[in-house]
């Protein structure tokens, strides 16, 4: 069975480079821009921006499940050490939670849009603010895994294989 799996490279990955950070482009950018366009739409009274927000939110929700699939595979192949272990746990927990939160918000938004696409109640705007905040925390945690602990980078993988960390 083991031989059927593709061999791991010097990033300890079966593919060229980490894919999770690429997929999350579409979660981070679309979720945050959705909140930004909602805010601009309310302040400048431009209801056509609500439609732009809706599609970005829907796309962020679709993308986060793909991000989680690659995130789980690559987290499983990472060899976290020291404090990066608990950061990875937190990042995974918040990632799954964000999938739930994004799905709920998208469902809520679908109903609101069906009733009246030209207006947006304030509670939804507040929920968007919370979403943006949680995304910022999640991005910071993920950034720490790469930029501080260097998970899946060639030098850290080599040190891990040599038993140095």
């Amino acid at each position: 069975m083991q031989q059927l799996l593709p061999p791991l490279n010097d990033h300890n990955l079966p593919w060229m480079d980490t894919l999770h950070p690429i997929v999350v482009h579409f979660v981070i950018a679309m979720a945050v821009i959705s909140v930004v366009f909602d805010l601009i739409g309310v302040v400048l009274r431009r209801p056509n921006l609500f439609e732009v927000s809706f599609w970005n939110l829907l796309f962020a929700t679709a993308a986060i499940f793909v991000a989680i699939i690659f995130g789980q595979v690559e987290a499983g192949l990472a060899d976290p050490y020291g404090a990066s272990r608990s950061i990875l746990n937190l990042h995974s927990t918040l990632g799954w939670s964000l999938a739930g939160i994004l799905s709920l918000l998208t469902g809520w938004r679908y109903v609101l849009r069906n009733r009246d696409p030209e207006s947006l109640p304030l509670p939804f705007l507040a929920a968007g603010g919370v979403l943006a905040l949680l995304v910022a925390v999640q991005v910071t945690l993920g950034n720490q895994l790469i930029w501080v602990y260097g998970l899946h980078t060639v030098p850290v993988v080599a040190a891990g294989r040599a038993g140095l960390i």
Binding site: D17, F26, I28, F37, L49, E51, V52, P155
Partner: protein, 223 residues
């Protein structure tokens, strides 16, 4: 004439090899007291976070203009899904996402150049696609400016289509615009690979990689 830095090391002009050592009084060293082990005055680089927005917004902008262009084909599918759509709505996503992409990308490139100024790639590494660190940084730097220019040009082109040339038409974009957009996906993908290699292979601005390069034991240096 070949680009000298892309030649194999042996056939490169000797002068280029001699100037690779920075003099000790290089102006960049004036910042050294601010810098952490990741060679930055802060722990997490800014450029990679802004890049999420440049790439995400650009790709989704083009994708939704494609959806708007193919509207007559897909409208039955959305009716089946009970998801109300308008063609103008799709093209609004195409326009506003691209506009946001153009705004944020100036900051992406600016942060990229500041952080590349402070980059200390691990010496002696050749990337997966066969380049050395300075070649990768040059291509990523020049490519970054070229892509910023392309994004600005696309935004202006998109604006002309939306507000002048095609303002009364259902399909707000030319097929050529979508084709150029798809071509830029490839360019951006390749460009992003260079950036990813600067991090994941050359260890630029990664605390753990930089500490390992100095011979530190991560069990003590990064508990």
């Amino acid at each position: 004439m070949a680009f000298p830095l892309l030649l194999p090391a042996a056939s490169r002009p000797q002068l280029l090899l001699e100037i690779t050592t920075l003099p000790a009084d290089s102006p960049i060293s004036q910042l050294s007291s601010w810098l952490g082990p990741n060679d930055l005055p802060y722990s997490l680089p800014i450029h990679p976070t802004l890049v999420h927005f440049t790439i995400g917004l650009f790709v989704i902008a083009i994708a939704f203009d494609i959806a708007g262009a193919l509207y007559p084909i897909e409208k039955r599918v959305f009716r089946f899904l009970a998801l109300p759509i308008t063609r103008a709505g799709f093209h609004d996503v195409g326009w506003y996402n691209l506009l946001a992409c153009a705004v944020v990308s100036f900051f992406t490139v600016a942060a990229g150049f500041f952080e590349m100024l402070l980059a200390v790639p691990i010496p002696g590494v050749t990337s997966t696609i066969g380049l050395q660190s300075m070649e990768t940084m040059l291509l990523h730097g020049v490519g970054g400016v070229a892509i910023l220019l392309a994004i600005i040009a696309m935004t202006v082109w998109r604006g002309y289509q939306r507000f002048l040339w095609r303002r009364d038409m259902g399909r707000q974009v030319q097929w050529l615009y979508l084709l150029v957009g798809l071509g830029l996906f490839l360019v951006i993908g390749l460009h992003g690979t260079l950036g990813a290699e600067l991090a994941g292979e050359f260890g630029v601005h990664i605390t753990a990689d930089q500490l390992l390069a100095t011979g530190a034991d991560l069990r003590n240096a990064l508990p």
